[in-house]
């Protein structure tokens, strides 16, 4: 983890409300692993005050750059996407846990993996797909991407290009299958080819994915969101209910959690 001043190199609108920011962040880019995030300070004033957590979509380790997919939902993210090119942004990162990889201790046997993205949740999964592709023992990667409409399949080409198979669904049928990404997942799980599922998207979606994987006996990892103070595990602001009681910190114990580590019922109660 470092605090790094990062020049904003480019900012490209990729969908209504969505931008890809490119930043020069050599130190962070060199450490970053898929699933981790950066904590970004909004420049200039104390209003807004706090940093904003943003997943790393792709580090370009060679050039020392980071790509962030940012959705302008509120004041902070709006100010971020409107930041003039050339501004130095203050980033803290890389923070949090990464997705455990096939071949690693937790997933030594995994050969076929499913990446399940909902909307914006695609960001860390692009990084993950990229990482998987670059590994010596390449697992077979199936990418599932769902969104409300075609418009909101943000950065889907980046995702698709890094998967061995790729499935798209939209709720309004404007692209791919009509329906939710979880409908596609049902079919995939039924085929019984997935050794592990990685997911990121709206909480309700992830809760469903977690339940389906649990029922199918497949390992599942999800990337979670919660409001944050410090981002480094010090303030206990970012608590989410843990399975078995108590809380875990999204910023340090997560954002990537094994799905069975969370108390999904309590989580759904709180939203």
């Amino acid at each position: 983890m470092v605090q790094e001043k990062c020049r904003l190199l480019s900012s490209e609108q990729v969908a209504p409300g969505h931008w890809v920011l490119r930043l020069a962040a050599p130190a962070i880019a060199s450490f970053a692993r898929a699933g981790q995030f950066v904590h970004v300070r909004i420049p200039t004033t104390y209003d807004p005050l706090l940093r904003r957590p943003i997943s790393i979509m792709l580090p370009e380790a060679r050039q020392g750059n980071l790509r962030l997919l940012t959705c302008a939902v509120g004041r902070g993210t709006r100010m971020l996407v409107e930041t003039p090119i050339g501004t130095e942004l203050d980033l803290l990162g890389p923070l949090g846990t990464a997705f455990p990889l096939p071949g690693g201790p937790e997933l030594s046997e995994a050969k076929e993996v499913l990446l399940v993205a909902g909307g914006m949740g695609v960001a860390p999964l692009v990084f993950l797909a990229d990482t998987l592709r670059g590994m010596d023992h390449h697992a077979y990667v199936r990418g599932l991407f769902g969104a409300a409409t075609e418009d909101l399949l943000v950065s889907w080409t980046e995702f698709a290009a890094r998967c061995d198979e790729f499935y798209v669904s939209t709720e309004d049928g404007s692209a791919g299958e009509q329906g939710r990404v979880t409908d596609t997942l049902v079919a995939q799980l039924e085929r019984g080819q997935a050794d592990v599922v990685y997911t990121c998207g709206p909480i309700a979606m992830m809760a469903q994915v977690a339940q389906m994987c649990h029922d199918a006996g497949v390992a599942c990892y999800c990337s979670f969101e919660q409001r944050m103070g410090c981002g480094v595990g010090a303030c206990l602001s970012c608590a989410v209910p843990a399975a078995g009681g108590g809380y875990v910190r999204v910023c340090r114990d997560g954002p990537v959690f094994a799905a069975d580590r969370l108390d999904w019922e309590a989580i759904l109660d709180d939203i």
């Binding site: 300070r41 209003d47 005050l49 410090c230 010090a234 970012c238 809380y247």
Partner: protein, 306 residues
């Protein structure tokens, strides 16, 4: 310049700090969380998250919300309990060359006494800060709203420890001065001013409070004027050193507190915004002393009163 560096040290009871900048309890964890990007050994002291007798899981989420130039928190004193803190948290922090100040939160005089005994005995701790002003648990502010209870509590803890004793007061009172006087008369070596203001925020989209606990503690630049006023008022009423906090973001803010009467300052919310804040503030204060030919920071304490 070839002249000597200004004397930045400050005395809190029997404890001498190398400089007046410490972390504020609850905003810096057990110190080690920030060790990768903050040089802990530069700090005046690290004040750790509140410790309770039993483990506490804390309040239901969401626990924070941002406000204009501020933030609300209702963590609810989550911590693993005093035994686990001593066994699992303090040894690692103690490996750094920086004084550790423990922040104690009890529900009764007996609990505070028990905490003080355990923390004094463990040997890791350089001073005790009595948190009698947490707005985020029921009865959290009971002691800090009454001079009698404050005095009784401080006196009881005073009997069981020789460590420097700091009492941390709440701004959520009609008059903070009687609480300060009671704490000092009962043996407090220093006072911390201030804990968070009691506030809340409403989520208009969901038509309910933003934070799970409903009310929460307000911190950050928004509260700095209230904190400065408390330091100012208390400085005129007591003789012990004051530790000022509440919205300190940079050395200019720290100077405001020192000029209002604080001998030391604590950096809270600023660490979230800028982890380097506390170290930058130390540098800024030293620079100010050099620029103004001061032999030490102590000569600035309370100057705005004259």
């Amino acid at each position: 310049m070839t002249s000597e560096r200004p004397d930045m040290s400050v005395q809190l009871g029997s404890l001498r700090l190398r400089n007046p900048v410490m972390t504020a309890s609850g905003t810096f964890g057990f110190g080690v969380e920030y060790a990768e990007c903050v040089d802990l050994e530069r700090l005046g002291a690290v004040v750790i998250k509140a410790v309770t007798v039993e483990p506490r899981i804390g309040n239901r989420p969401p626990r924070i919300a941002e406000t204009a130039a501020g933030m609300l928190n209702a963590i609810g004193l989550q911590n693993p309990g005093v035994d686990a803190v001593i066994a699992e948290k303090l040894p690692e922090l103690a490996s750094y060359d920086v004084p550790i100040i423990a922040n104690l939160a009890g529900e009764s005089v007996a609990e505070y006494v028990q905490l003080a005994e355990r923390l004094t005995a463990c040997g890791y701790v350089a001073a005790l800060e009595l948190n009698i002003s947490c707005p985020n648990v029921s009865h959290g502010m009971m002691f800090s709203s009454s001079p009698e209870l404050t005095g009784e509590l401080v006196a009881a803890v005073r009997r069981v420890t020789d460590l420097p004793l700091i009492t941390k007061l709440s701004p959520n009172v009609t008059d903070i001065v009687p609480m300060a006087v009671a704490a000092v008369e009962a043996g407090s070596d220093a006072l911390s001013l201030i804990n968070t203001l009691l506030g809340m925020s409403i989520d208009v989209a969901r038509r309910r409070p933003m934070v799970g606990n409903i009310t929460a503690g307000l911190s950050g630049p928004a509260i700095k004027p209230v904190a400065l006023r408390c330091v100012w008022q208390v400085y005129e009423a007591v003789q012990v050193p004051l530790i000022g906090m509440g919205g300190i973001m940079d050395s200019h803010d720290a100077l405001q507190f020192i000029m209002a009467g604080a001998s030391a300052v604590a950096v809270g919310t600023a660490s979230f915004v800028n982890p380097a804040a506390s170290v930058e503030i130390i540098g800024g204060l030293e620079q100010y002393c050099c620029d103004h030919d001061l032999c030490g920071i102590g000569s600035l304490v309370g100057v705005a009163h004259s």
